[in-house]
Every structure is written in structure tokens, then in C-alpha cells.
Amino acid sequence: MPEFKRPHALADVTTHYCPGCTHGIVHRLVAEVIDEMGIEGETIGVCPVGCSVMAYDYFECDMLEAAHGRAPAVATGVKRANPDKFVFTYQGDGDLAAIGTAEIVHAATRGENITVIFINNTTYGMTGGQMAPTTLPGQVTQTTPYGRDTSNEGFPVKVCEMLSQLDGVALAERVTVIDPANVRKAKAAIRKGFEFQKNKQGFSIIEVLSTCPTNWGKTPVEALERVKTEMIPYYPLGVYKEGAVR
């Protein structure tokens, strides 16, 4: 029976994440994959601007902090200079699907051999719960106090569906971490992304439907329930694209 302990790649520090937030689980899964592949020393991570801005303190591999939305460009610079190293970005929905839309689309279409961990919690957490590009129709946020009105704010961006149209993408998979079975699937998806990268087979993105109890005004348990009842119907889980592009 293996002992349950902290992965080496996950720094032994207290994170700043709110109670019930799923960032901690996703961080752990990334660190477990890095440990299991034995690649901590060859891995370089790129953090975003948003709640995970300080993730550079939470991973034991070398890390860079990028400007808002620019993580895929920063990761491209690292990877092109170090093609044999593992490079991942860890980005939220505002970072990746609003201000950083150009960077993620073009990193994907170039087939950059990087792995993107994309946290979709339908809100800007760090700045206090404003409308994100992924905010659901009708969802109340600080900047959609009457609910997201699609006649005014338009529609949510479905990132995996969009990126799966691009030829450079080896893996686009949407997962969640709301229960043990889904945590295992999420970890398998992250592992797959790093394996595609190891074999230089193209761009991989793992979208994780996540919670933000604080800004949703819910308890952690209610937040997990919301992922199941409101988010998954709009953002179906599953593999949107899988296969080496080169």
C-alpha cells in the first residue's frame, strides 16, 4: 500500500488559496505527474496573472511569472530555447480566454510542444469575482449584477471546443476534480499532456472545471455541486481532440 504523501514537486508551503478552492488539487495532480515521470529537474512552469499568480512558490521546478495572458508566449520562448525541457503553463479563464486569447490560439495552432493547465471557474477570482469569458449565461458576478445577459455581454468561450479545431493541437480535454473518480481522470489527462510533450507531438491543453466558493457565495460542498449541475451541462467533460500532430 503506497504511502499518501506530498509529491516532491509540490513545495512544502501553505498556499494562499481559499478554503474549498480546487487549485490545490490541480497543483497536486501536476506535481504528482512531474514526480512520476521523474522530470522535476527538466521542467519549467509558467504562471499567469490571477489566483494562481503565486504558483511559482508552490512548485519545486524552475518557474517564470508571466504578464496577464502572455503565459503561452513566455512558454514558447522557453520551449524554443530549450526544446528538450518540459514546459507547462498554468492559467485561469480570464488570463487564457480573454486577455490572452491571441497567445493561446497561436501557441495551439503552432503546435507548440507545451502543456497548458487551464482552470475554468467562470469568474475572475483574484480581483473579486467579475465576469469572466467563461461566465455562464445568467450568472451573477460583480460586473454582471443582474446576471450575464447574452444580448449585452455575449456568450461564454468554450475553449476546448474552439482549440480542438486547430491542427496543432494534440490534446484538448476537459476534466473536473469534484470527486475521486474525476480527480483520477484529471490526473490521467495531465499525464497524457506531458507524454505528448515528451514525444514532441504537439500542443496539449487540459481544461479543469473548478470551483470558486468565495466569489460564488457558496460553501465548498455547494460549489462542487454547482460544477455538476450548472457547469458540466454547459461545458461537457471529455476528450475534444487527441492524437499526435507530428
Binding site: 527538466e42 508571466a66 504578464a67 508566449a73 513566455v74 520562448g77 530555447a81 525541457k85
Partner: protein, 355 residues
């Protein structure tokens, strides 16, 4: 002495970057600097380097951030409107203490402006190349040969002081052809081997490195900024450069940089032939600004003339350098118009009777 060949400024600069150990180039097309990208797209793959055309200027400078952050010598180039887009990334590069070289082949502005030569980005490059407290090294070469020679110096000083270096050219320097020789240069610090701060994968041999510009505690942020500014003082002391000609007895000292300095020098030499005691100072570094050199050159001057391809953006720095001890006048053309030596000479003559 290396053999000379005739080359366009932009292409010579690009070749010089490869010879200076630049391993990666990230760019985006914009006139009048596109030949740099075009040249490197041909040459980089042949020398095992990386050429990548980014989706935007914003992405290109952030690729530089990542590449430089992993310890690899890299460069981007653009022209004025594109540099505005890069300023976000340049601020982060400065904030994370990363070395890189940025080329600005200036064109007229503001806005889309024009595509003809200009020096209207002086304020931006010397005073506000992004948000926050920081400087970039700024070199202003005046010939194709000097552009070539500046590239190595820019990379070396960027690496030594861990700060961005800008080569401020203009459409005239970028587009004209001149004889140029490439001397063999010693390549220092082109990869991560001498950069213990680089995020290049720790290999299990050291603690992880973090490339970052975020400091949420005010005292920590203040300390990093103060440390950076202490480094700047060292740069000022050791690496400020200007070229002075005919200044010893000059009554009118002309101050101009880049291609304009060559036109102004022609005007000064024409003035000397007419018995007018004119001299010229050409700042080679715009940051650090050659304050002492200008004061020394102007010690016998009755007045000073600043000449630029702009509405007079360097004038205030000259006045500050002289502490307003001499009258400072300005002559310039803008919008892509190159001032003629005869126009500058006429202004020197007009100032002859004044003190």
C-alpha cells in the same frame, strides 16, 4: 581587418546579432525594420538558432521574456508603433532583471504616423519604455558599421547588468547600404551556463529559480527597485558615451544623435570652412545620457543647438545636463522629413550673433 561588404543597415544588424551569439529571434513584420526578420528567417536555421514570427508584437516580446528568462541570448526588433505594443513586456523584462536586445528602427508618429525615418521615440525610449521605475540601456548608432559594432556591446552590457538594451536606429540607418566589416567578437554569456538565476531546469542540482516581477510587500518592492537603481549608477559611471568633434573652441555646439548627427556634422564642417566656430556632440548612449561629456564640450560655447528628426524631444535633457547655463535652441524636421545640412547650417549662422 575583416573584409568589407556592402550591406543594408537592417541586414547588417541582423548578421551582427548572430555573430554576437544571439540564439533566438522573435519578431513581427513592420516597416521599416522587416529586413531584420527576413534576414534572420534565412540565417537562423542555418546556424542552429531559432527564428519565430510571433502572432503580435506583444507575443514576440513575451517570447523574449521566456527565452531570456531561461538564460538564452535573444532579441526582438520592431518600429515605433510596434515598440509601443512591446512596452508592457519590456517593463516585465526590466522588473524581472532579464537581459535582452530590442531594436527600434524608428518611423514617424504618433499613431500609424508614416514609414519614413524619424527620431520621435526619444521620450519613450529614454523616459517611459513601460510602466514603473526602470531604465533600459539605449544606444544610438550613426552608421551601418556602428550598428554592427553596437550589437555585441548591447548584448554584453545587457547580460552584465541584467537589463534590456535598446538599439535606437531609424528608417534611414535601417534602409541605407554602407560598407561594413564584421570583426570576430568574443561571445560571452550567450547561454545559461553563467546565469545561475536562469529558469532552465534545475536538473536536481540546485533549488528552483523563479523569474518574477511581483512583490506584494512594499518594502520588498522598494528594495528591488533601489538595488536596480544602484546598478544604474554603475552603468552611468562606466558606460556613458558621446563623440565630440571641433568642440575645444566651439562657440556654437550642435548636439544630435543617430543619422541626424551625420547631417549635423556636415553642417558643422561647412560652418568651420566659413570661419564659424561650431562643434558637435553626438550622444552614443541616450541612456545613460552623456551629461559630463556635454558640459565639457560646451564649456566655451556661447550657445547650443539641438537637432533632431522630431519636435525636439532631447532638448530638455540637454538643458538639464547644462543646468540651463547656456542658451539652448532647437532645429528639427519631423513626420519623416530628414533635415538638410544647409538648413542646419543656416540655423548655426542665425545663432552666430547670439549669446
Amino acid at each position: 581587418m575583416a573584409e568589407k561588404s556592402l550591406m543594408k543597415g537592417n541586414e547588417a544588424l541582423a548578421e551582427a546579432a548572430i555573430r554576437a551569439g544571439c540564439k533566438c529571434f522573435f519578431g513581427y513584420p513592420i516597416t521599416p525594420q522587416t529586413e531584420i526578420s527576413a534576414y534572420l528567417s534565412k540565417r537562423m536555421p542555418k546556424v542552429g538558432g531559432v527564428f519565430l514570427q510571433a502572432e503580435s508584437e506583444v507575443a514576440a516580446i513575451n517570447m523574449v521574456y521566456g527565452c531570456a528568462g531561461s538564460g538564452i541570448r535573444c532579441m526582438t526588433s520592431s518600429s515605433s508603433p510596434g515598440i509601443s505594443l512591446k512596452t508592457e513586456g519590456i517593463s516585465y523584462i526590466a522588473g524581472a532583471d532579464l537581459p535582452c536586445v530590442i531594436i527600434n528602427v524608428q518611423r514617424g508618429g504618433p499613431g500609424l504616423g508614416g514609414i519614413q525615418p524619424s527620431q520621435a521615440d526619444y521620450w519613450q525610449v529614454t523616459h517611459a519604455l513601460g510602466h514603473g521605475d526602470f531604465h533600459a540601456l539605449v544606444f544610438a548608432p550613426a552608421s551601418v558599421q556602428e550598428m554592427v559594432d553596437t550589437v555585441t556591446k548591447a548584448f554584453d552590457l545587457a547580460d552584465e547588468y541584467r537589463m534590456p538594451a535598446v538599439i535606437l536606429a531609424d528608417g534611414l540607418l535601417g534602409q541605407m547600404m554602407e560598407p561594413v566589416a564584421f570583426e570576430d567578437v568574443e561571445i560571452k554569456m550567450s547561454d545559461a551556463s553563467n546565469k545561475p538565476w536562469a529558469a532552465s531546469g534545475h536538473g536536481g542540482k540546485r533549488k528552483h529559480t523563479i523569474i518574477n516581477s511581483l512583490y506584494l510587500k512594499p518594502d520588498e518592492l522598494e528594495n528591488t527597485v533601489r538595488e536596480r537603481f544602484a546598478r544604474y549608477e554603475d552603468v552611468k559611471a562606466k558606460h556613458t558615451e558621446a563623440v565630440c568633434d571641433y568642440c575645444d573652441d566651439a562657440e556654437t555646439v550642435v548636439i544630435a544623435y543617430g543619422s541626424t548627427a551625420r547631417l549635423a556634422k556636415s553642417a558643422v564642417e561647412a560652418a568651420r570652412k566659413e570661419g564659424i566656430k561650431a562643434g558637435i556632440v553626438r550622444p552614443v548612449t541616450l541612456w545613460p545620457f552623456p551629461v559630463n561629456e556635454i558640459n565639457e564640450a560646451c564649456k566655451n560655447a556661447k550657445n547650443v543647438l539641438v537637432v533632431e528628426m522630431s519636435m525636439g524631444q532631447m532638448v530638455e535633457d540637454v538643458k538639464l545636463a547644462l543646468n540651463c547655463s547656456k542658451p539652448v535652441e532647437f532645429y528639427g524636421r519631423t513626420g519623416g522629413i530628414i533635415p538638410k545640412p544647409a538648413e542646419i547650417l543656416a540655423k548655426i549662422k542665425e545663432m552666430g550673433g547670439k549669446n
